[in-house]
């Protein structure tokens, strides 16, 4: 067992592998989470995000690889010895206990006297905005209230790390949005590092300091929300965040002179290692301008308008490129265009993102 050192990251997952039968749910996942960080693992169902979370908690064992907390190898420690907190999707509050008893559950071993215990419980209830709820039976609370009790319960023993497994997915839309902001506030107020699992891209972008995107057990990309949104690494990431075009083409030239070439435009990419095959680039819908006054940093190309989809705040214009590929541009102002119109589109060249191959 390694000694904890100041320089060690709070959580270090070292090339962890896990298989269920012949389905790989974690394929050499390697990541680090720092103190006070809100870290999100994002992916569709079956991507392995929950499995990785359960391996951090100790509820699952990795087939291979190590898990370190503050530099200490906890891979072989059972869940009750890891000093972590966990919030479950379906709350998992103890139905035979009151709110206060639920929150106090993990404090039994902390040797607090009655007054201190009561003090800590009411502190936590204030934190999750449920003051005065001490003596209510948990079974009579609404979904949002139950989940807040579960969060308070998990935070009560001051865990080194709070793990959250899709905690908002059982709640309805409106409460979910309120809870997103509240969770972020709670995280800031306590300074506890959160590892959050979700399949909801909006949730990930709203709350996280960094997001890891997983697919088929592979870690595809780790980045801050804005970078992830603007600079998807692979086709999967680009398509997972709705509102991206993936345009396929081919490479001409080689090495540092590699040029991406498709029917609409050419783009100097420089050296692209491990490029997607066939070569492809991502362009976000809102980065495409319709019939613009050209500027020097933009690439322009012709397209034919296929259809117009009104989406409320913005409108999607669906164009066909010369080679038949579809490209969608979103605009907030209603361009007076009819299907069949030939238009000129423009994109800033630094907003055209060459894509890499999916990890395998």
């Amino acid at each position: 067992m390694q000694a904890a050192t100041a320089s060690a990251p709070l959580l270090h997952i070292r090339t962890v592998w896990k298989k269920f039968g012949d389905r790989v749910t974690a394929a050499g996942v390697d990541l680090q989470v720092g103190n006070g960080e809100f870290f999100t693992m994002l992916g569709p169902s079956g991507s392995g995000k929950s499995t990785v979370l359960r391996m951090i908690s100790g509820l699952e064992q990795p087939d291979d690889g190590r898990i370190l907390i503050n530099g200490e190898d906890v891979t072989d420690l059972p869940p009750w010895k890891r000093g972590l907190g966990m919030v479950f999707q379906q709350y998992a509050n103890f139905p035979h206990m009151s709110v206060a008893q639920n929150i106090g559950y993990g404090l039994r071993r902390s040797n607090l006297d009655r007054t201190a215990l009561r003090q800590r419980v009411s502190e936590l209830l204030d934190l999750v905005s449920l003051p005065g709820f001490q003596n209510k039976p948990v079974t009579q609370l609404s979904g949002g209230e139950q989940q807040r009790v579960a969060i308070a319960r998990a935070l009560a023993p001051r865990p080194r790390l709070l793990l959250l497994d899709e905690p908002l997915s059982a709640l309805d839309e409106k409460i979910r949005r309120e809870m997103q902001l509240q969770l972020k506030d709670i995280q800031r107020a306590t300074g506890t590092a959160f590892v959050y699992v979700t399949h909801d891209q909006e949730e990930a972008l709203t709350m996280s300091d960094r997001v890891a995107v997983l697919n088929w057990g592979y870690l595809v990309q780790i980045d801050a929300p804005l970078a992830l949104f603007r600079q998807p690494r692979t086709k999967f990431v680009a398509q997972f965040f709705r509102g991206s075009n993936v345009i396929e083409g081919r490479f001409t030239g080689s090495g540092a002179q590699t040029v991406f070439d498709c029917a609409a435009f050419r783009l100097d990419c420089g050296a692209v290692d491990n490029a997607a095959n066939p070569p492809a680039v991502a362009i976000r819908n809102e980065d495409i301008r319709i019939n613009p006054r050209a500027t020097e940093h933009e690439t322009t190309f012709d397209a034919v308008l296929e259809r117009v989809v009104y989406r409320g705040i913005y409108t999607d214009f669906q164009f066909k490129l010369a080679d038949g590929q579809i490209i969608v541009a979103s605009a907030t102002s209603g361009e007076a265009l009819d299907p069949g119109a030939k238009v000129r589109l423009a994109v800033r060249t630094d907003r055209i993102i060459p894509l890499h191959a999916e990890p395998s």
Binding site: G58, W80, Q90, A92, H96, Y105, R108, R153, L163
Partner: protein, 291 residues
């Protein structure tokens, strides 16, 4: 249920009416008759309507009351022994067996009930007898020189018979309440730093108490009213309450049999009432265990 009752439509009345009627004819009426007869006067042959407490006085005075006490302790201790076997069995079936095997296990528990229980009890008498296979085996193994006497016609034999007769019934309600516990509650407890034993005491056990309570009622009521096991495995003169009642009937002392039955039924009702209070207080019990 309560909504359906409020509506009082024809369907509800028909659905509830049948069972209520059967209950009245098959249970309430005979019990009322029994209670009535217990106050009648005994005559040389048969009895005469009237009101006398003679049968009760005789019962509470004599040796028969000792039998009641003994039956009570026998049933209570047998219930505790049976819970001590049924709970671990149900626990293993719920948490340690694969679902496929759990089904087989539960089916196997019901197999003995395919045979009439008097025949089953006689089979025990054969197995445990002086010349039975158990004694034979003990002697072949050299564990005893002569046949062991306390195997049959003893408290041991009666306990064994009661366990064999009622314990399997008790696994089901406990298994039901254990398997209804959300596994994530157990995981949540672990994540809060509580190791498996603490988790069992603070989460699993309190949440399974309703099943334990139902099982205890099954076991106790069955053992308290037992006749065959005590007669066949207890031997001549071994008397539990059920035997005392049948022997009164044998000598045609109907008022006495009725008085004893009434006392037993009264005891049961009293105990069930107390039990249901505990049952209702399970939240309270859980609170105590969960602090």
């Amino acid at each position: 249920m309560s909504i359906a009752l409020k509506r009082r439509d024809a369907g509800t009345v028909a659905l509830l009416g049948g069972p209520v009627l059967i209950c009245a004819i098959a249970i309430i009426a005979p019990l009322a008759l029994t209670l009535m007869v217990s106050f009648w006067e005994r005559q040389m042959i048969g009895m005469k309507p009237g009101f006398t407490l003679a049968s009760y006085a005789l019962f509470f005075d004599g040796a028969r009351f000792t039998v009641l006490e003994r039956s009570f302790w026998m049933a209570a201790s047998a219930t505790i022994i049976m819970l001590a076997i049924a709970y671990p069995a149900a626990y293993l079936a719920t948490f340690k067996l694969a679902p496929q095997r759990t089904r087989i296990f539960l089916f196997l528990l019901s197999v003995p009930f395919l045979v009439n229980y008097v025949i089953r009890t006689f089979a025990w008498a054969y197995l445990l007898g002086r010349t039975g296979p158990v004694n034979g085996l003990l002697q072949v193994l050299g564990l005893t020189a002569a046949p062991v006497d306390w195997l049959l016609f003893s408290d041991f034999a009666v306990y064994l018979g009661l366990v064999a007769a009622y314990m399997p019934f008790m696994v089901y309600p406990i298994w039901l309440s254990l398997s209804a516990i959300d596994r994530r509650l157990i995981e949540a407890s672990w994540m809060l730093g509580e190791p498996p034993l603490g988790t069992f005491l603070r989460v699993v056990l309190p949440l399974s108490l309703p099943g334990v309570s139902a099982a205890a009622i099954f076991g106790f009521v069955g053992s308290f009213g037992e006749v065959a096991v005590s007669q066949i495995l207890g031997g001549v003169g071994y008397q539990l309450m059920g035997n005392a009642i049948t022997s009164s009937l044998d000598v045609l002392n109907y008022p006495m049999a009725a008085a004893m039955s009434s006392v037993v039924v009264g005891c049961m009702l009293l105990m069930l009432t107390l039990w249901l209070r505990v049952f209702d207080l399970r939240l309270f019990l859980g609170k105590m265990l969960g602090r």
